[in-house]
Symmetry: C2
Subunit: 443 residues, 2 copies
């Protein structure tokens, strides 16, 4: 059983340790919510101040040219491309994840409608992040498709069939952290004649992604989670070169035009991924996103995404081991006088099927205590979050204590300390204090 000094040794041997210096981290906080809102990069404040004071305040309108504002969607897109296995000039940053999904799903339905008009099904996962399902519901209704949802990955082979037009999945599930097999499912869908869209919201910057290697058709992703782009940072979008020029995407704003500054009354889409830009980009938020993405570029000499993934797995494995031995099923009778406090793993045990987060649930009689436990942890500086289960069937869909592990800045000792706080919160019943049971968290 690992002790704190073992974790100190792991930190001392961690080749990625210098990356922590690229962030501003609040004192006394162990932040395990980088899967929801990434932390502040050290470069961001000065960079945004420069945009505001010099580029906007002093240089004003000419900064669209001289400060490269107009080029930001493509420039940051190219920096994200190498994180997700996309090619040069195949990614742009624009709008939100929801809007980018609307663009690519609409385009995919146009392509499927031309190539296979008899296929009328969009398939996704019932536990997919809701915004993906809402966007798919809208497009399915508009274009006469049926949105089918599966509950378990075992159903997929039976559902990937001659009815399927588009398979639309989030690679890493936002609740459970379950990681789909991108290459295998893409192959399966293509073999059945369907197109595949991957939402990389919990993948980009968290796990190595190889879109071209997997031969995916479209992908989108989020800027404010593992990319540390700031609250509500713009999102990104990719289309495979074989698909990108086949149709317009419907959100045909002027900056997706082939020649926006000719101000012609008719729309001609830009060649390539540029047509996935819509309106004028929000420059302050774009500039902040670039600072987050640049930290990944700085990780390259230290091994880049493969090294980050190795550390991410080591962190989550350590977390699971410590939870199990100090307050979970292996605690009873363990050295150190620990006992089973009813904490159970709600993410896949096999790291190959897990993203960079770990979810826990609490066994009866504590199955309703999750919210209060998370609040008590936050008051101790251990920031995770709570996702409510289905109150009608808590066995099947339990309340979840969700913890994200960002290898860019988390230490092995942080993991140790977080588990020790969790153990103490449960051991002492601290979570029963009224201030931890008062109201629902928004995020």
């Amino acid at each position: 059983m690992k002790q704190r000094q073992d974790c100190q040794a792991l930190d001392a041997a961690d080749a990625l340790r210098p990356l922590r210096e690229h962030f501003v981290l609040p004192e006394g906080v162990i932040y395990l919510d980088g899967n929801s809102l990434g932390v502040l990069p050290a470069a961001t404040e000065a960079r945004v101040q420069q945009v505001i004071r010099q580029e906007w305040g002093t240089d004003l309108i000419k900064s669209w040219n001289t400060a490269g504002w107009m080029d930001l969607p493509r420039r940051i897109g190219n920096k994200i491309a190498w994180l997700i296995g996309a090619g040069e000039d195949e990614v742009v940053v624009a709008d939100s994840t929801s809007l980018n999904l609307y663009k690519v799903l609409a385009a995919a339905l146009r392509i499927a409608g031309e190539d296979h008009p008899e296929r009328r099904v969009i398939l996704s996962e019932r536990s997919n992040f809701p915004t993906d399902l809402y966007i798919a519901e809208s497009l399915a209704a508009q274009h006469g498709y049926t949105l089918k949802l599966f509950d378990h990955v075992d159903e997929l082979p039976g559902l990937i069939n001659a009815e399927l037009a588009v398979l639309m999945l989030t690679e890493v599930n936002y609740r459970s952290g379950y990681k789909h097999d991108m290459a295998g499912l893409t192959r399966l869908a293509h073999a059945a004649g369907a197109l595949v869209i991957w939402d990389l919201a919990h993948s980009a910057g968290a796990v190595p992604v190889d879109l071209k290697g997997a031969d995916a058709d479209f992908a989108i992703g989020c800027g404010y989670k593992y990319l540390n782009g700031g609250p509500g940072a713009p999102a990104f979008v990719w289309a495979h070169p074989r698909q990108v020029d086949r149709f317009w995407q419907p959100l045909s704003g002027w900056l997706g035009h082939a020649a926006p500054f000719q101000f012609t009354p008719n729309y001609t889409p830009a060649p390539g991924i540029g047509r996935y830009i819509c309106g004028t980009p929000a420059i302050l938020s774009m500039a902040a996103l670039e600072c987050g993405v640049d930290v990944f570029l700085a990780s390259e000499p230290l091994g880049g995404m493969p090294a980050l993934r190795r550390k991410s797995i080591a962190l989550t494995e350590l977390f699971i081991e410590l939870v199990e031995t100090r307050c979970g099923i292996k605690a009873a009778g363990a050295q150190g006088g620990f006992r089973d406090l009813g904490v159970r793993l709600a993410s896949p045990r096999d790291a190959a099927h897990r993203g960079s987060q770990v979810c826990l649930r609490l066994e009866s009689p504590l199955q309703e205590a999750g919210y209060a436990v998370v609040q008590a942890l936050i008051s101790r500086g251990v920031v995770g979050d709570f996702r409510a289960g289905d109150p009608k069937q808590l066995e099947a869909t339990p309340h979840i204590l969700r913890f994200g592990f960002t290898p860019l800045y988390l230490r092995f000792t942080d993991v140790f300390d977080a588990v020790e706080h969790l153990r103490q919160v449960l051991e002492t019943s601290e979570w029963r204090q009224p201030q931890f049971n008062s109201k629902a968290s928004v995020t």
Copy 2:
């Protein structure tokens, strides 16, 4: 004929003069491009720094609640509402102008399709800002409508007929500054059974707008022009209460859901204008926009929009008078030895039909000189912009020198000095210098 000392007297008597203190203006610049990118409010840098350092960097995920991030779209929407004659809780800030137009036009087509399925025409203006036309082109193609474009407002009575589903206009034309009669055209369209959408990109913060008084159906507008929200600031959207709940808008992202944090797989739109929110808002850009909008709230004790409009008209009238008498058609033989340098007005002469901008064109043989003249003015610190005409018919659609007049911070002496610079650039043929003739401006 007005002299500089007359302008100094006008400045001294200007009750709105204190508002200039709310902005950071670069030394030596007369900024006449606030209709394209508004200037930097004095409060913005510190406010955005606070968001980055404290709300994001230190408080992290909890700021969605404690710093009111989740409420920003509605809070800023309510501040914009009073500028445009909308009611409380009827406006939200979200996404871009293009995307908000997509939402409201899609909703309008759904309503028109139910109430008047035989009407298949969307009507707009050929010289409308292209993004509006591109979005309409996309939706017309998707839903089987014809997009008709008129060239002159005189055609409108003949085109507002029993075929018309939706009239979609930008109140103030981005090129000419022509200001449509919102109330009159809305009445005409309603009498013919059509719906009306107004794009307020060049209206909000520039001219008083009374959406409820005009009984409009939908409106959208821009945050980065007269509202001084920063480059690519988020846009706003309004729907009349009688229309807002009739249908979904199709960009059904999770923050437009009635209960986003219940994470249900099916979309239920929020009641009211909240359903026009889509994805997670870009908080840094939203915070900056609020600083711009707050200056208008500060203008209220000084007379608010009516007083700003009076000053705007006084500024544009002064500009036109000075141009005409110092380098235009009234210059020949005028006192002071001025001569006609070929500068002509390309905006309406009647202030009632003009927004807060003035466009000029150059007569033969200088009709191709506009770009270089604008560049020469910029090098003197007088920042306007150039909009190319139609090279095949420069008589009908000439090259335009475009100047925006923002009453929040411009002085009457600025107007005088700008005209004097224009006169000197033409008088001395300074614009012929090679550096002013080298390349096309992006914006």
